[in-house]
Symmetry: C2
Subunit: 555 residues, 2 copies
């Protein structure tokens, strides 16, 4: 059975029943069909947040197919519920880019999924669309002001940093010349589109502490400079009110359910390689207001998602997880040990052992935060007993809790041992996490600390362009912001070909971007692009629907 | 009170109660909140469509502020309900472009509005967003195929006609060079964005007779040519299945209510100047399946909206209206009579008389369709008794039914006389409408007939570029399609400065576009642009929302 077939084999509960089990009255729900609802921010209760337990699910360096973080998160959430723990899984919304690019959704898999999976993977409740519109309204206002005779702010079009965005893998929009066509079209200039998941508005939505905060952050967006070199902000264009109006519903977290009928909240969807990679603060706090445990995930490997989750999101929100689940798979470790991707289903204990250093490095990096770690080996049918035993004993030698989980094949039942270990770890946690850097550190020091402590790099090398951008951003007073490094997810280094545990490598910062509204500086490492392209055979080619609404090829 | 304040002073009925009055069971509704729902296409019943009565509301050449067609449509619908006639008002969805550009929504005004007006004017149920994504997915697939080494169709990038779209007034996107940035970015080429309301996907959604038809039309989109000069269609890129998946909910009409608690259906939103200007066939048929009378509108003046409503939509759908309401305002007629826009509130019977020819011309044009006409003078508080009397007696001299209506000030009560005249006209109508041209006419003849019969033009002049494009489209077999002329809404001519009733003028066809999927040819007249810009002071600057969700400046 495909994920889609499994998802469609379940009769979902009415979302009012999911809400009712959380003691949310029906009058508070804003329905989107019978199986999705938005939750009002008034349900967030900071006292309950303080007494709830946050658990982060992260992973080793993933293969292109992903290692099952979302599947593990959902399976773990269901298992916690089976153990009688009041638990909500809180995860990100999928982007249409990957849905139509590389086959695969972001709503879990097998018997550990959130539903309605088709809607969740398509337009869902329109949050991405609203973000895109708010982003692109600001672009239109910038273009209009550059063109204006009477209300000009004197924006130098060569300095406009603000890009448009689109939730689509469209390489043709990465670099464009806009505003062509003569006087009526504006002043031609180089610009481009980011994918919506990497847009600053997505980051703002996910890092806002309340609605007013969202509006202020929109106003604080740094647009570019005037001809005299003065910075121009979105508020100078009177843009933030209309942007906030566009985001008035998108700011509300979305309630859905798992295949087992347990609650799940899905909200916000930044990528972790080119953005901060974790769902919204408000969704996390909503979950913590409604349940004793919140299971959440952060994108890609721990070097990206977990680092940003802790140093950006948790620091901004005043949150600290009580346990970190590190997802590994035997096939990914074999891949890091040199086995070609096409052969990872074959038994190979030698390749597995050679791949261990990747896992070890992530464990070492995560230990720097001082929070209990549980390694969860996400089981595949191709895993052999010899391989499982080898991996298990290796983790035990490292002194870290380890378990085999089977969320894909068995749902919550397959994650019961993991759930028990997580409950234990949470009970043992007596401390807040230790950030990798202090906000008072210089930007260069922050980058150095992340690169050394988390990636295991030796040096950080800034391009000349990056150096001059950094000077500019520091002079504008952004030196105290946290950093959000854009880097390939395929390697601990900035070179996607360096698998396993690369050593003696440097990180090359090509350029900087500033997210003054969201509140972070973006050092861009290596060749990473903030607008992906489609693969040779896009998944879109095989997606179809008949007149009865039967969909094929989506997953 | 502003329109927004009036709209918010009403407690809306639950949408299930609106549906229930139409005998739609709750299980058939897909809720979007408590006051919006999508209706399944299975509710359309062709037998009921045949016995229902369709009434079109159109207008004289409008001033920039609009003459109240939507307000009249909603007021008329409410008045019909007051008369005990089972009536549904079926109108278009607003575009975000004008909402953030020129202050003004498209959900009626005063006491003749559809609600929830804020949602309707923002993201509503996401239809525009879905259309945009389907459009732009095709663009991404085109770009990807041009880039492909292994699956190339050999598309000549210089011939790609398909443009991206965005629901935003962004002049900077009108003309762009895309796919810059070296090998990874693609082959640079000139292209641009249309506003979503003018996109072919919008047209397809509005002209589809069922879901399979939608998918086929998506596949039939003409993309461009190969290097050998062969046409390439969207189906060659295997795009139509994924596009249809994106449109699976957008194709369903949306049920809302008027301020008086009567049903309204809002679906599809093409502009009438640069697109076909009328809501979806499926929405109209849905209304006709559920009620004895359907009141619908077509955008801008009768030269644009009504012409396209009849010659494109009604012909495609096999529909024929039984009455046409022509909305005029005293201030617009004074404007056409030479009164400056800033002074139209002043009494001026001389200017009014000088403006009559615009009304006369529209009456003459509409008479060519052979359907009964009622002139509805949409009342403003500035209208004087002398002006009203003059206009009324002038219409009576022309032998056309006329009434003063007051939908804005009084809701349905202000449109009771109009409603009675409409019921009378419908009862008298014994014929189908006479199209302006036959589909077998050549494209040039079709254009000539519309320009002469509807606009009152003398000659049609094609640019050299238009001539060669026409040859190409005819050779591809598109000569039998209807035409959808893109022309300014501000004048009967293609020159927006020619107010009143211009005479002895020519229409200049600058270029052609083809909407092979939607099924029409687009002759582009004069300087009309398919991506608008923002005005000097965009409405967006004054739109705001506070943390309690109170919105100001939207209307």
């Amino acid at each position: 059975m495909t994920d889609l077939q499994i998802a469609q084999s379940i009769s979902p509960k009415h979302i009012r029943d999911i809400a009712s089990a959380l003691a949310i009255p029906e009058t508070q729900l804003e329905y989107y069909g019978q199986d999705k609802a938005k939750l009002p921010l008034s349900l967030i209760d900071e006292n309950k947040v303080d007494s709830s337990n946050l658990v982060l699910v992260t992973a080793i360096t993933p293969t292109p197919a992903g290692e099952g973080k979302t599947t593990t998160s959902i399976g773990l959430g269901d298992a916690m519920c089976q153990l009688g723990k009041k638990t909500i899984t809180v995860i990100r919304e999928p982007s249409l880019g990957p849905v139509f690019g590389i086959k695969g959704g972001a709503a879990g898999g097998g018997w550990s999924q959130v539903i309605p999976m088709v809607d969740i993977n398509l337009h869902f409740t329109g949050d991405f669309h609203a973000i895109e519109k708010a982003n692109n309204l600001l672009s239109a206002l910038i273009e209009n002001n550059i063109q204006s005779k009477t209300k000009s702010l004197g924006i130098d079009p060569r300095t406009v940093q603000w890009k448009r965005c689109m939730d689509m893998n469209d390489r043709g929009l990465r670099n464009i010349v806009a505003a062509l066509g003569g006087k009526a079209g504006g002043i031609p200039r180089e610009t481009g589109f980011n994918i919506t998941a990497a847009s600053e508005i997505m980051a703002i939505l996910c890092l806002s502490n309340n609605f007013n905060d969202l509006k202020e952050k929109c106003g604080a967006i740094y647009v570019g400079d005037t001809w005299e070199g003065k910075p121009v902000y979105a508020r100078d264009l009177h843009a933030e009110g209309a942007m906030a109006v566009l985001l008035k519903d998108a700011i509300k977290p979305n309630l859905v359910q798992t295949l087992e009928g347990n609650p799940a909240i899905i909200h916000g969807g930044p990528f972790a390689n080119i953005a901060q990679g974790t769902n919204s603060i408000l969704a996390t706090k909503m979950g913590m207001s409604l349940a004793d445990y919140v299971i959440t995930e952060a994108g890609f490997g721990a070097d990206l998602g977990a680092e940003k989750f802790l140093n950006i999101k948790c620091r901004t929100a005043g949150l600290s997880p009580k346990a970190i689940v590190l997802v590994a798979t035997i096939r990914a470790l074999k891949y890091h040990g040199g086995k070609p991707l096409s052969e990872v289903a074959q038994e190979d204990t030698e390749a597995l052992e050679k791949g261990f250093p990747n896992l070890e490095r992530h464990i070492k990096s995560l230990k720097s935060f001082g929070i209990p770690i549980v390694v969860s080996v996400n089981g595949f049918t191709s895993d052999t007993d010899a391989e499982k035993q080898l991996l298990k004993s290796h983790c035990e030698k490292l002194g870290v809790a380890v378990t085999l989980s089977h969320g894909w094949a068995e749902g919550g039942k397959g994650c019961l041992d993991l759930a028990e270990k997580v409950v234990e770890a949470v009970a043992q946690c007596t401390t807040q996490f230790t950030p990798t850097y202090s906000l008072e550190d210089s930007v260069r020091t922050k980058i150095k600390k992340v690169c050394e402590t988390i990636y295991g790099a030796e040096h950080v090398i800034l391009s000349n362009e990056a150096k001059s951008q950094l000077l500019r951003y520091e002079s504008l007073g952004y030196g105290n912001l946290p950093i959000c490094i854009a880097k390939t997810q395929k390697s601990l280094s900035d070179d996607e070909k360096q698998l396993g545990r690369p050593e003696h490598f440097d990180i090359h910062i090509r350029e900087f971007e500033i997210a003054a509204g969201a509140g972070f500086i973006i050092p861009i490492a290596g060749n990473i692009l903030r607008m992906p392209g489609l693969p040779a055979t896009p998944a879109a080619e095989h997606i179809d629907i008949d007149e009865n609404g039967e969909i094929v090829g989506l997953f």
